[in-house]
Amino acid sequence: MPHPLSLTINGEPYTLLVEPYCSLLDMLRDQLQLTGTKKGCDEGDCGACTVLMNGKTVTSCMVLALDARDQEIITVEGLRQGNTLHPVQAAFVQYGGVQCGFCTPGLIMSGVGLLLENPQPTEEEVRFAIGGNLCRCTGYSKVVQAILKAAETMQAQAS
Protein backbone atom coordinates (compact mmCIF):
# COMPACT_ATOMS: atom_id res chain seq x y z
CA MET A 1 0.00 0.00 0.00
CA PRO A 2 1.47 3.38 -0.93
CA HIS A 3 2.17 5.89 1.80
CA PRO A 4 2.17 9.68 1.50
CA LEU A 5 5.63 11.23 1.53
CA SER A 6 6.64 14.87 1.82
CA LEU A 7 10.18 15.99 1.20
CA THR A 8 12.23 18.70 -0.47
CA ILE A 9 14.04 17.98 -3.71
CA ASN A 10 16.33 20.58 -5.26
CA GLY A 11 14.74 23.26 -3.11
CA GLU A 12 11.15 22.46 -4.07
CA PRO A 13 8.62 20.82 -1.76
CA TYR A 14 7.03 17.60 -3.01
CA THR A 15 4.21 15.44 -1.69
CA LEU A 16 3.63 12.12 -3.38
CA LEU A 17 2.48 8.57 -2.82
CA VAL A 18 5.22 5.97 -2.57
CA GLU A 19 5.28 2.19 -2.13
CA PRO A 20 7.12 0.92 0.99
CA TYR A 21 9.74 -0.94 -1.06
CA CYS A 22 10.47 1.90 -3.49
CA SER A 23 13.99 3.27 -3.21
CA LEU A 24 14.74 6.96 -3.24
CA LEU A 25 16.52 6.31 -6.55
CA ASP A 26 13.50 4.69 -8.22
CA MET A 27 11.25 7.43 -6.90
CA LEU A 28 13.51 10.16 -8.32
CA ARG A 29 13.86 8.48 -11.70
CA ASP A 30 10.48 6.81 -12.28
CA GLN A 31 8.03 9.06 -10.47
CA LEU A 32 9.71 12.44 -10.90
CA GLN A 33 11.68 11.82 -14.12
CA LEU A 34 14.81 13.15 -12.45
CA THR A 35 16.90 10.77 -14.54
CA GLY A 36 20.19 12.59 -14.03
CA THR A 37 20.77 10.29 -11.07
CA LYS A 38 21.87 6.97 -12.57
CA LYS A 39 21.10 3.39 -11.62
CA GLY A 40 24.22 1.27 -11.94
CA CYS A 41 24.37 -1.70 -9.57
CA ASP A 42 21.34 -1.07 -7.32
CA GLU A 43 23.30 -2.50 -4.40
CA GLY A 44 25.27 0.46 -3.10
CA ASP A 45 28.56 -0.51 -4.74
CA CYS A 46 29.00 1.78 -7.76
CA GLY A 47 28.04 5.26 -6.53
CA ALA A 48 26.25 6.25 -9.78
CA CYS A 49 23.08 7.05 -7.80
CA THR A 50 24.79 9.37 -5.29
CA VAL A 51 22.68 12.31 -4.12
CA LEU A 52 22.91 14.66 -1.15
CA MET A 53 20.54 14.02 1.74
CA ASN A 54 20.71 16.88 4.23
CA GLY A 55 24.11 17.82 2.83
CA LYS A 56 25.59 14.33 3.06
CA THR A 57 26.27 12.02 0.14
CA VAL A 58 24.24 8.82 0.11
CA THR A 59 23.68 6.10 -2.47
CA SER A 60 20.00 6.68 -3.23
CA CYS A 61 19.48 3.01 -4.18
CA MET A 62 20.15 2.17 -0.51
CA VAL A 63 17.58 4.60 0.89
CA LEU A 64 13.92 3.68 1.23
CA ALA A 65 12.02 6.58 -0.33
CA LEU A 66 9.78 6.73 2.74
CA ASP A 67 12.84 7.15 4.92
CA ALA A 68 13.54 10.44 3.11
CA ARG A 69 10.48 12.03 4.73
CA ASP A 70 11.07 15.71 5.59
CA GLN A 71 14.64 15.47 4.31
CA GLU A 72 16.35 17.77 1.82
CA ILE A 73 17.54 15.99 -1.27
CA ILE A 74 19.84 17.54 -3.87
CA THR A 75 20.34 15.72 -7.15
CA VAL A 76 22.65 16.63 -10.02
CA GLU A 77 19.73 18.56 -11.58
CA GLY A 78 19.67 20.85 -8.55
CA LEU A 79 23.28 22.03 -8.65
CA ARG A 80 23.27 24.74 -11.29
CA GLN A 81 22.36 28.32 -10.43
CA GLY A 82 20.17 29.57 -13.27
CA ASN A 83 22.20 28.98 -16.41
CA THR A 84 25.51 28.71 -14.57
CA LEU A 85 26.92 25.29 -13.85
CA HIS A 86 28.07 24.49 -10.33
CA PRO A 87 31.88 24.90 -10.13
CA VAL A 88 32.29 21.13 -9.79
CA GLN A 89 30.18 20.55 -12.91
CA ALA A 90 32.08 23.26 -14.80
CA ALA A 91 35.42 21.75 -13.77
CA PHE A 92 34.38 18.27 -14.96
CA VAL A 93 33.64 19.80 -18.38
CA GLN A 94 36.78 21.92 -18.50
CA TYR A 95 39.23 19.27 -17.32
CA GLY A 96 37.73 16.30 -19.13
CA GLY A 97 36.38 14.45 -16.12
CA VAL A 98 33.60 13.08 -18.32
CA GLN A 99 33.90 10.29 -20.84
CA CYS A 100 30.90 8.00 -21.26
CA GLY A 101 29.15 10.03 -18.59
CA PHE A 102 27.31 7.32 -16.70
CA CYS A 103 29.24 7.71 -13.46
CA THR A 104 29.48 11.48 -13.82
CA PRO A 105 26.41 12.63 -11.86
CA GLY A 106 27.42 10.43 -8.94
CA LEU A 107 31.04 11.57 -9.04
CA ILE A 108 29.96 15.21 -9.22
CA MET A 109 27.70 14.73 -6.19
CA SER A 110 30.55 13.08 -4.28
CA GLY A 111 32.78 16.00 -5.22
CA VAL A 112 30.17 18.52 -4.10
CA GLY A 113 29.62 16.58 -0.85
CA LEU A 114 33.35 16.52 -0.14
CA LEU A 115 33.76 20.26 -0.73
CA LEU A 116 30.85 21.02 1.61
CA GLU A 117 32.72 19.24 4.41
CA ASN A 118 36.25 20.04 3.40
CA PRO A 119 36.65 23.06 1.08
CA GLN A 120 40.41 22.56 0.63
CA PRO A 121 41.02 18.83 0.23
CA THR A 122 44.34 17.28 -0.63
CA GLU A 123 44.57 14.95 -3.61
CA GLU A 124 44.56 12.00 -1.20
CA GLU A 125 41.40 13.27 0.44
CA VAL A 126 39.71 13.63 -2.94
CA ARG A 127 40.64 10.07 -3.88
CA PHE A 128 39.40 8.82 -0.51
CA ALA A 129 36.12 10.71 -0.91
CA ILE A 130 35.36 9.25 -4.35
CA GLY A 131 36.33 5.72 -3.35
CA GLY A 132 32.67 4.75 -3.49
CA ASN A 133 32.26 5.85 -7.12
CA LEU A 134 33.22 3.52 -9.92
CA CYS A 135 34.35 4.94 -13.26
CA ARG A 136 35.48 2.60 -16.02
CA CYS A 137 36.58 5.23 -18.55
CA THR A 138 38.62 8.04 -17.09
CA GLY A 139 41.11 6.30 -14.84
CA TYR A 140 40.05 8.94 -12.27
CA SER A 141 43.00 11.30 -12.87
CA LYS A 142 40.92 13.94 -14.66
CA VAL A 143 38.12 13.52 -12.16
CA VAL A 144 40.48 14.16 -9.25
CA GLN A 145 41.98 17.12 -11.08
CA ALA A 146 38.51 18.54 -11.75
CA ILE A 147 37.48 18.34 -8.09
CA LEU A 148 40.74 19.95 -6.96
CA LYS A 149 40.30 22.76 -9.50
CA ALA A 150 36.67 23.23 -8.43
CA ALA A 151 37.88 23.62 -4.85
CA GLU A 152 40.24 26.39 -5.99
CA THR A 153 37.47 28.12 -7.95
CA MET A 154 35.08 27.99 -5.01
CA GLN A 155 37.77 29.31 -2.65
CA ALA A 156 38.45 32.19 -5.03
CA GLN A 157 34.70 32.94 -5.32
CA ALA A 158 34.27 32.88 -1.55
CA SER A 159 37.09 35.34 -0.87
Partner: protein, 306 residues
Protein backbone atom coordinates in the same frame (compact mmCIF):
# COMPACT_ATOMS: atom_id res chain seq x y z
CA UNK B 1 10.98 -9.88 -4.46
CA UNK B 2 8.17 -9.80 -1.95
CA UNK B 3 6.28 -6.60 -1.33
CA UNK B 4 6.70 -5.62 2.28
CA UNK B 5 4.67 -3.18 4.31
CA UNK B 6 6.19 -0.23 6.14
CA UNK B 7 5.98 0.71 9.79
CA UNK B 8 7.77 3.34 11.80
CA UNK B 9 8.37 3.49 15.53
CA UNK B 10 8.80 6.73 17.48
CA UNK B 11 10.03 5.08 20.69
CA UNK B 12 11.85 1.89 21.66
CA UNK B 13 8.75 0.69 23.54
CA UNK B 14 6.64 1.23 20.44
CA UNK B 15 9.08 -0.78 18.31
CA UNK B 16 9.10 -3.67 20.78
CA UNK B 17 5.30 -3.62 21.01
CA UNK B 18 4.89 -3.67 17.22
CA UNK B 19 7.23 -6.64 16.87
CA UNK B 20 5.48 -8.43 19.72
CA UNK B 21 2.08 -7.98 18.11
CA UNK B 22 3.01 -8.72 14.52
CA UNK B 23 5.58 -11.26 13.35
CA UNK B 24 7.69 -10.96 10.23
CA UNK B 25 9.43 -7.69 10.96
CA UNK B 26 12.82 -6.71 9.62
CA UNK B 27 14.26 -3.74 11.46
CA UNK B 28 15.75 -1.09 9.18
CA UNK B 29 17.92 1.87 10.05
CA UNK B 30 20.59 2.52 7.43
CA UNK B 31 18.93 -0.17 5.27
CA UNK B 32 22.21 -0.85 3.45
CA UNK B 33 22.14 -4.56 4.28
CA UNK B 34 18.37 -5.05 4.36
CA UNK B 35 17.72 -3.72 0.84
CA UNK B 36 20.46 -5.87 -0.68
CA UNK B 37 19.26 -9.05 1.03
CA UNK B 38 15.69 -8.26 0.04
CA UNK B 39 16.55 -7.57 -3.61
CA UNK B 40 18.57 -10.79 -3.74
CA UNK B 41 15.54 -12.65 -2.39
CA UNK B 42 17.31 -13.77 0.77
CA UNK B 43 15.09 -11.80 3.13
CA UNK B 44 11.34 -11.68 2.70
CA UNK B 45 10.03 -9.47 5.50
CA UNK B 46 6.28 -9.04 5.95
CA UNK B 47 7.08 -5.51 7.01
CA UNK B 48 10.08 -3.36 7.64
CA UNK B 49 10.16 -1.49 10.91
CA UNK B 50 12.03 1.77 10.53
CA UNK B 51 13.64 2.74 13.85
CA UNK B 52 15.55 5.72 12.47
CA UNK B 53 13.08 8.25 13.87
CA UNK B 54 13.47 7.07 17.46
CA UNK B 55 14.90 10.09 19.26
CA UNK B 56 18.20 9.72 21.12
CA UNK B 57 19.36 6.47 19.55
CA UNK B 58 21.91 8.32 17.39
CA UNK B 59 23.82 9.77 20.33
CA UNK B 60 27.47 9.31 21.26
CA UNK B 61 28.22 9.63 24.96
CA UNK B 62 31.68 9.60 26.48
CA UNK B 63 33.17 10.11 29.91
CA UNK B 64 36.53 8.93 31.25
CA UNK B 65 34.68 7.11 34.05
CA UNK B 66 31.88 5.38 32.23
CA UNK B 67 33.49 4.98 28.81
CA UNK B 68 31.75 5.19 25.46
CA UNK B 69 28.08 4.75 24.75
CA UNK B 70 26.96 4.44 21.14
CA UNK B 71 23.29 4.55 20.27
CA UNK B 72 22.36 1.87 17.79
CA UNK B 73 21.71 4.53 15.10
CA UNK B 74 25.16 6.14 15.29
CA UNK B 75 26.44 6.09 11.72
CA UNK B 76 29.74 4.60 10.62
CA UNK B 77 30.63 8.08 9.37
CA UNK B 78 30.24 9.42 12.91
CA UNK B 79 32.52 6.68 14.26
CA UNK B 80 35.07 7.69 11.63
CA UNK B 81 35.03 11.42 12.35
CA UNK B 82 34.19 11.76 16.03
CA UNK B 83 37.22 13.37 17.76
CA UNK B 84 36.66 11.52 21.06
CA UNK B 85 36.41 8.17 19.29
CA UNK B 86 39.52 8.91 17.26
CA UNK B 87 41.34 9.82 20.47
CA UNK B 88 40.15 7.15 22.90
CA UNK B 89 39.01 4.26 20.69
CA UNK B 90 41.22 4.68 17.62
CA UNK B 91 40.73 1.13 16.30
CA UNK B 92 37.00 1.81 16.03
CA UNK B 93 37.56 5.02 14.04
CA UNK B 94 40.13 3.23 11.85
CA UNK B 95 37.69 0.40 11.18
CA UNK B 96 35.04 2.95 10.22
CA UNK B 97 37.36 4.49 7.59
CA UNK B 98 37.88 1.04 6.08
CA UNK B 99 34.11 0.49 5.84
CA UNK B 100 32.57 0.64 2.30
CA UNK B 101 32.57 4.18 0.86
CA UNK B 102 31.51 7.59 2.16
CA UNK B 103 27.94 7.28 0.82
CA UNK B 104 27.37 3.99 2.64
CA UNK B 105 29.11 5.21 5.80
CA UNK B 106 26.69 8.15 5.88
CA UNK B 107 23.78 5.66 5.99
CA UNK B 108 25.02 2.52 7.72
CA UNK B 109 24.68 2.32 11.48
CA UNK B 110 26.85 0.65 14.09
CA UNK B 111 23.84 -1.26 15.42
CA UNK B 112 23.09 -2.56 11.95
CA UNK B 113 26.66 -3.72 11.45
CA UNK B 114 26.54 -5.57 14.78
CA UNK B 115 23.10 -7.13 14.17
CA UNK B 116 24.16 -8.22 10.70
CA UNK B 117 26.66 -10.40 12.60
CA UNK B 118 28.90 -10.97 9.62
CA UNK B 119 32.29 -12.43 10.60
CA UNK B 120 33.71 -9.86 8.16
CA UNK B 121 31.83 -6.88 9.65
CA UNK B 122 34.31 -4.03 9.89
CA UNK B 123 33.32 -2.61 13.27
CA UNK B 124 33.16 -5.98 15.03
CA UNK B 125 36.85 -6.78 15.67
CA UNK B 126 37.39 -3.31 17.13
CA UNK B 127 34.23 -3.47 19.25
CA UNK B 128 35.21 -6.91 20.49
CA UNK B 129 38.77 -5.83 21.28
CA UNK B 130 37.40 -2.89 23.27
CA UNK B 131 35.10 -5.18 25.26
CA UNK B 132 31.78 -3.86 23.95
CA UNK B 133 28.49 -4.83 25.55
CA UNK B 134 25.13 -4.81 23.78
CA UNK B 135 22.16 -3.14 25.45
CA UNK B 136 19.03 -4.91 24.29
CA UNK B 137 15.40 -3.83 24.77
CA UNK B 138 12.57 -6.33 24.64
CA UNK B 139 9.16 -7.24 26.00
CA UNK B 140 10.75 -8.19 29.36
CA UNK B 141 12.68 -4.94 29.67
CA UNK B 142 16.38 -4.34 29.05
CA UNK B 143 19.33 -6.70 29.28
CA UNK B 144 23.08 -6.43 28.67
CA UNK B 145 24.91 -9.05 26.62
CA UNK B 146 28.66 -9.02 25.95
CA UNK B 147 29.34 -8.74 22.22
CA UNK B 148 31.13 -12.10 22.37
CA UNK B 149 27.83 -13.72 23.29
CA UNK B 150 25.75 -11.58 20.94
CA UNK B 151 27.11 -12.79 17.60
CA UNK B 152 26.37 -16.51 17.33
CA UNK B 153 27.15 -17.18 13.68
CA UNK B 154 26.90 -15.50 10.27
CA UNK B 155 23.70 -13.43 10.50
CA UNK B 156 22.70 -15.01 13.81
CA UNK B 157 22.51 -13.02 17.02
CA UNK B 158 21.29 -13.53 20.55
CA UNK B 159 18.30 -11.26 19.84
CA UNK B 160 15.05 -12.95 20.82
CA UNK B 161 11.70 -12.26 19.11
CA UNK B 162 10.59 -8.63 19.56
CA UNK B 163 14.01 -7.61 20.86
CA UNK B 164 16.03 -4.70 19.58
CA UNK B 165 19.65 -3.62 20.02
CA UNK B 166 19.48 -0.09 21.42
CA UNK B 167 23.08 0.77 22.33
CA UNK B 168 26.65 -0.43 22.66
CA UNK B 169 28.74 0.32 25.70
CA UNK B 170 32.52 0.27 25.71
CA UNK B 171 34.45 0.40 28.98
CA UNK B 172 36.71 3.41 29.64
CA UNK B 173 39.97 3.32 27.72
CA UNK B 174 42.91 2.38 29.94
CA UNK B 175 45.91 4.73 30.06
CA UNK B 176 49.01 3.80 28.05
CA UNK B 177 46.97 1.95 25.47
CA UNK B 178 47.37 1.71 21.73
CA UNK B 179 45.28 0.04 19.09
CA UNK B 180 45.22 -0.76 15.40
CA UNK B 181 42.69 -2.33 13.06
CA UNK B 182 43.88 -3.74 9.74
CA UNK B 183 41.56 -4.85 6.98
CA UNK B 184 43.05 -7.04 4.29
CA UNK B 185 40.98 -6.95 1.09
CA UNK B 186 41.52 -6.70 -2.67
CA UNK B 187 40.11 -3.16 -2.95
CA UNK B 188 40.80 -0.26 -0.61
CA UNK B 189 37.16 0.89 -0.62
CA UNK B 190 33.80 -0.76 -1.19
CA UNK B 191 35.17 -4.17 -0.35
CA UNK B 192 34.58 -6.75 2.33
CA UNK B 193 37.45 -7.97 4.48
CA UNK B 194 39.22 -11.16 3.44
CA UNK B 195 40.78 -11.11 6.90
CA UNK B 196 40.68 -8.37 9.51
CA UNK B 197 42.41 -7.92 12.86
CA UNK B 198 42.08 -5.46 15.72
CA UNK B 199 44.52 -5.38 18.62
CA UNK B 200 44.41 -3.22 21.73
CA UNK B 201 47.51 -3.22 23.93
CA UNK B 202 47.93 -1.66 27.38
CA UNK B 203 51.39 -1.30 28.91
CA UNK B 204 52.29 -1.27 32.61
CA UNK B 205 53.33 2.13 33.93
CA UNK B 206 56.76 1.33 35.38
CA UNK B 207 58.03 -1.76 33.65
CA UNK B 208 56.46 -1.19 30.25
CA UNK B 209 55.45 -4.84 29.99
CA UNK B 210 52.16 -5.82 28.43
CA UNK B 211 49.54 -5.30 31.11
CA UNK B 212 46.50 -6.16 29.03
CA UNK B 213 45.95 -7.14 25.40
CA UNK B 214 42.98 -8.05 23.29
CA UNK B 215 43.30 -9.44 19.80
CA UNK B 216 40.18 -9.92 17.67
CA UNK B 217 40.16 -11.70 14.31
CA UNK B 218 37.57 -11.15 11.59
CA UNK B 219 36.52 -13.36 8.64
CA UNK B 220 38.41 -16.45 9.83
CA UNK B 221 35.61 -18.17 11.79
CA UNK B 222 31.78 -18.14 11.87
CA UNK B 223 31.93 -15.09 14.13
CA UNK B 224 34.58 -12.54 14.96
CA UNK B 225 36.79 -14.28 17.53
CA UNK B 226 39.33 -13.34 20.15
CA UNK B 227 42.76 -14.91 19.99
CA UNK B 228 42.82 -15.70 23.70
CA UNK B 229 45.87 -18.00 23.64
CA UNK B 230 47.93 -15.24 22.05
CA UNK B 231 46.59 -12.75 24.60
CA UNK B 232 47.61 -15.02 27.48
CA UNK B 233 51.02 -15.50 25.89
CA UNK B 234 51.62 -11.73 25.86
CA UNK B 235 50.05 -10.65 29.14
CA UNK B 236 52.64 -9.70 31.75
CA UNK B 237 55.48 -10.10 29.25
CA UNK B 238 57.83 -7.65 27.58
CA UNK B 239 56.77 -6.47 24.16
CA UNK B 240 59.92 -7.06 22.13
CA UNK B 241 59.64 -7.85 18.46
CA UNK B 242 60.31 -11.55 18.91
CA UNK B 243 57.51 -11.99 21.44
CA UNK B 244 55.06 -10.08 19.27
CA UNK B 245 56.00 -12.36 16.39
CA UNK B 246 55.40 -15.47 18.50
CA UNK B 247 52.09 -14.06 19.73
CA UNK B 248 51.06 -13.49 16.13
CA UNK B 249 51.79 -17.12 15.25
CA UNK B 250 49.84 -18.24 18.30
CA UNK B 251 46.92 -16.05 17.21
CA UNK B 252 46.95 -17.67 13.78
CA UNK B 253 46.16 -21.01 15.45
CA UNK B 254 42.80 -19.52 16.51
CA UNK B 255 41.80 -18.99 12.88
CA UNK B 256 39.54 -21.60 11.30
CA UNK B 257 38.82 -20.01 7.96
CA UNK B 258 36.86 -21.36 5.02
CA UNK B 259 37.26 -21.09 1.25
CA UNK B 260 34.89 -18.56 -0.24
CA UNK B 261 34.64 -16.01 -3.02
CA UNK B 262 36.89 -13.59 -1.14
CA UNK B 263 39.77 -15.95 -0.51
CA UNK B 264 40.90 -19.47 0.20
CA UNK B 265 41.27 -20.84 3.70
CA UNK B 266 44.99 -21.28 3.06
CA UNK B 267 45.39 -17.66 1.98
CA UNK B 268 43.50 -16.49 5.06
CA UNK B 269 45.59 -18.67 7.38
CA UNK B 270 48.75 -17.28 5.78
CA UNK B 271 47.87 -13.63 6.32
CA UNK B 272 46.57 -13.81 9.89
CA UNK B 273 49.99 -13.93 11.55
CA UNK B 274 51.53 -10.98 9.66
CA UNK B 275 48.40 -8.91 10.21
CA UNK B 276 48.36 -9.64 13.93
CA UNK B 277 52.07 -8.91 14.16
CA UNK B 278 51.56 -5.53 12.46
CA UNK B 279 48.59 -4.55 14.64
CA UNK B 280 50.55 -5.45 17.78
CA UNK B 281 53.64 -3.58 16.59
CA UNK B 282 51.77 -0.32 16.00
CA UNK B 283 49.51 -0.73 19.04
CA UNK B 284 52.66 -1.06 21.21
CA UNK B 285 54.21 2.03 19.55
CA UNK B 286 51.07 4.04 20.27
CA UNK B 287 50.92 2.73 23.83
CA UNK B 288 54.55 3.81 24.28
CA UNK B 289 53.56 7.35 23.33
CA UNK B 290 54.24 7.53 19.60
CA UNK B 291 51.68 9.88 18.09
CA UNK B 292 50.40 8.59 14.79
CA UNK B 293 48.29 11.18 12.94
CA UNK B 294 44.85 9.80 12.13
CA UNK B 295 45.58 10.11 8.41
CA UNK B 296 48.47 7.69 8.91
CA UNK B 297 46.38 5.32 11.03
CA UNK B 298 43.86 5.27 8.19
CA UNK B 299 46.60 4.31 5.77
CA UNK B 300 47.72 1.47 8.02
CA UNK B 301 44.17 0.22 8.55
CA UNK B 302 43.47 -0.47 4.90
CA UNK B 303 45.75 -3.04 3.40
CA UNK B 304 44.56 -3.51 -0.15
CA UNK B 305 45.95 -4.41 -3.54
CA UNK B 306 44.03 -1.73 -5.41
Amino acid sequence: MNRFAYREAQTVQEAVEMMRQEEGARIVAGATDVLIRWRQGGWKPRYVLNIKRIAGLDEVGYSPHSGLSLGTLVTIRTLERHPLIQEHYPALAQAATAFAGVQIRNLATVGGNVCNASPAGDTLPALLAYGAECRIAGPEGERLVPLEQFCLGPGHTALQPAELLVALRLPPPPPRAGALYIKHSPRSTMDIATVSVASVVTLAEQSGVCQEVRIALGAVAPTVVRATAAETFLRGQSVDAERLQQAAHTAAQTAHPIDDIRGTAAHRRAVVAPLVQRTLHYAVQMAQGTRLPFQMQRGLAVEAIF
